[in-house]
């Protein structure tokens, strides 16, 4: 009896520590997201009140008011991030396959070049390239913004996909061909499903990196291409907590949708998160 108690005591202790860590995770994750919910419907909330003294829908009226173009900025952000993602997939799948499945000369150099933008901040390159963008008319255009957003997104897309392709057995494709599937069928029925989790994870990275981009958008879009981060920035600077909060809630919505959709792909082995180990 006493021995059993002796043995259980440390286990309980471990559980307590674990529970503290778990509580830390829950609170740590949730707390920085809660104030926005309250602030977005606040009219007056002065220090040191714990709850607002007056509530109002002002911020949400601002959001839906077509004059303020929040909705348009939202759509702009959506178009840009989606385009970046699609182009990222189109460019990333072949590159990921090449890097994941084949050995070739100077592969290390190719890997280095492709990874470079994930490590070296894109701000440096974008500041350098802006003057050329102005000259060739890409500045202040959607296309220009999409192009610079590709810089920081491509490495993540390709690394994720190459991780998936590295675990992919090309003999499945051969088997399918020998069973009578043509190239297209093989691609859609065999290759695509096999690398799909990687595409989902890579797309998620690409979309979110583009979605959260401020400095590259302002540099190349020059303010003319108004995205949500640009609106958000002008309000975080103005001290209007209510509108900044409402905007940040709008800003976070797609992220939450994406998370719900991709959650199961994130933790699995097939996600290609392991690709980051190859750097």
């Amino acid at each position: 009896m006493s021995e059993i108690q002796k043995q259980q005591a440390p286990r309980k202790q471990v559980n307590i520590i674990r529970n503290i860590v778990l509580l830390g995770i829950v609170l740590g994750v949730l707390l920085p997201m809660l104030p926005q919910l309250i602030w977005s419907i606040t009219h007056r909330w002065y220090f040191p009140d714990l709850i607002p003294s007056e509530w109002s829908a002002r911020s949400w009226e601002y959001i839906v008011n077509p004059n303020t173009r929040v909705i348009r900025a939202f759509l702009n952000s959506l178009v840009i991030a989606s385009a970046v993602t699609v182009i990222g997939i189109v460019i990333g799948v072949p590159a990921g396959k090449a890097l994941g499945m084949y050995k070739f000369k100077l592969k290390w150099l190719v890997e280095l070049i492709i990874l470079a933008p994930a490590i070296v901040p894109s701000l440096a390159a974008t500041m350098g390239i802006q003057v050329i963008f102005i000259r060739i008319g890409l500045a202040d255009t959607m296309l220009g913004v999409i192009l610079v957003h590709l810089i920081p997104t491509l490495p993540y897309m390709i690394v994720t996909l190459s991780g998936v392709f590295a675990n992919y057995d090309p003999e499945f494709e051969e088997q399918a061909r020998s069973l009578g599937a043509n190239r297209a069928k093989t691609f859609f029925l065999i290759t695509l499903p096999a690398v799909f989790p990687g595409i989902v994870t890579g797309s998620m990275f690409a979309f979110l990196i583009s979605w959260g981009q401020y400095i590259l958008t302002i540099l190349v879009g020059g303010g003319r291409i108004i995205t949500l981060p640009i609106l958000l920035f002008s309000f975080t600077g103005s001290g209007d907590n209510s509108i900044a909060s409402a905007l940040s809630i709008v800003f976070v919505l797609p992220a939450i949708i994406i998370l719900i959709v991709t959650s199961k792909f994130l933790s699995g082995k097939s996600s290609g998160m392991g690709g980051f180990g190859s750097i």
Binding site: H43, Y46, V93, R135, G223, R224, I226, F235, N241
Partner: protein, 416 residues
């Protein structure tokens, strides 16, 4: 992997890019507007403006102003002149100055991104000296007849001659802001304020320069150190500057320990100060817009007990302007937009809808109907009357002084 498809998509991408470049390279065949506008009638300009799109770059941190510009003002331009006005919210004037400057450097002399800017002071001077502005155009605007264009505070922007390269838009005057619930009797002179700061440590600060408002506040202390505006109104004078600076900077350094966070840091912008003030962390605030405090009461940012005052010796007044970059592709529409800003109805709306006060137009010059309407505006207890404001104005120094003060402030105060 389906290589052909990938290639096709890539090809499409290249073609799209190329197409955009080609389109951008296609310049308008017609003679440029800047070569013709001087001989055009206003009606011709209005006609040419129809269908044009104006990118209006301005500070975008106020929901009321954003709403008004993108709503009332943009709608009016659309219905009245078929001009599309796109407000581009930015964090500060350096965004569009740098942008235009960059375009000039890159040789993009037409089809620039910026068509109309909200500007004044040293920023105007920078753009003017960099040959970044279109003009002179202000004299072509019919509605300037409502404005005392010859008044020194309008014809000179921070002592720098406007020369028609920008058109007035709103009047500004520094007002001090306090919460009557916390400070019943605010110190109404600079000397009294300095004494108050020392008696109430940690309850006062100002935004770090080169913040627009922080810089304006500091200039009041500069005048105070000089004992008035004498000798400061002309071009920059190194000897005079050194003389005043010898008193001014020690005064600021002496003040630092009594400031919020003992002057170790400063809020980096006016909005940060607004936040500190709204939450009672500091007891004073100030703003270049005498009506701004009332707007913030309305939006809930400030308590209803907030009031404003001006120093007995006066506060600095100046004007806000609109200007058109040299490489704008919609100069006609930008001119129409700038003119419309001085329309009596628009000015009235500015006062009522966005607490813009006082108005730049001379109310006496307006049609009688608008005179009565404007005179009957009740801005509420947090806004001083036009007379109270106009009886306590101080002139601006020329921008060179400002630049020097800001530079030395960073060195001698912030970085100490």
């Amino acid at each position: 992997m389906n290589m052909k498809k990938v290639l096709i998509v890539m090809l499409l991408l290249v073609v799209t890019m190329g197409g955009t470049l080609w389109a951008a390279a296609q310049q308008e065949a017609q003679a440029p507007f800047e070569a013709r506008y001087k001989t055009m009638t206003w009606d011709q300009i209005v006609a040419e403006a129809s269908g044009q799109k104006v990118y209006h770059y301005m500070w975008g941190g106020s929901d009321t102003i954003n709403n008004w510009v993108s709503g009332f003002y943009a709608n009016r331009l659309k219905t009245k002149y078929n001009i599309t006005l796109e407000m581009v919210p930015v964090t500060g004037p350096q965004v569009y100055i740098n942008k235009t400057l960059g375009e000039k450097q890159a040789g993009k002399d037409t089809g620039g991104a910026v068509d109309l800017v909200w500007i004044n002071g040293e920023n105007f001077k920078t753009m003017r000296q960099g040959d970044l502005l279109f003009g002179p155009y202000a004299d072509k605007l019919p509605n300037t007849k409502y404005v005392n264009m010859d008044a020194k505070a309008i014809a000179y922007d921070f002592g720098y001659p406007v020369d028609g390269y920008e058109s007035p838009y709103g009047a500004a005057q520094m007002v001090m802001i306090y919460d009557s619930a916390k400070t019943a009797n605010p110190p109404k002179t600079v000397a009294a304020l300095l004494a108050w700061i020392k008696a109430n440590p940690g309850k006062f600060t100002y935004p770090a320069l080169p913040d627009f408002s922080g810089s304006a506040f500091i200039r009041h202390l500069f005048y105070y150190a000089n004992g008035g505006t004498d000798g400061l109104m002309g071009a920059f004078d190194e000897k005079k500057y050194q003389e005043v600076a010898a008193k001014f900077f020690p005064m600021l350094q002496e003040l630092e320990p009594y400031l919020w966070r003992e002057g170790k840091t400063y809020p980096e912008s006016l909005p940060k100060l607004n936040d500190l003030f709204a939450n009672g962390e500091v007891y004073f605030n100030f703003n270049y817009g005498p009506g701004d405090a009332a707007a913030k009461i309305k939006s809930g940012q400030f308590p209803a007990t907030v009031r404003t005052f001006v120093f007995d010796e006066g506060t600095i007044a100046n004007s806000n302007y609109l200007a058109i970059p040299y490489n704008s592709s919609s100069k006609a529409a930008a001119m129409v937009a700038a003119n419309e800003m001085l329309d009596p109805e628009v000015q009235y709306s500015m006062a009522v809808e966005r607490n813009s006060w006082p108005l730049i137009v001379n109310v006496g010059k307006l049609p009688a109907e608008w005179q009565t309407k404007i005179n009957s505006i009740n801005m509420g207890p947090a806004v001083l009357s036009g007379a109270e404001l106009s009886n306590h104005t101080l002139p601006e120094m020329m921008a060179d002084w400002l630049v020097r003060i800001e530079k030395d402030w960073t060195k001698l105060v912030l970085q100490q």
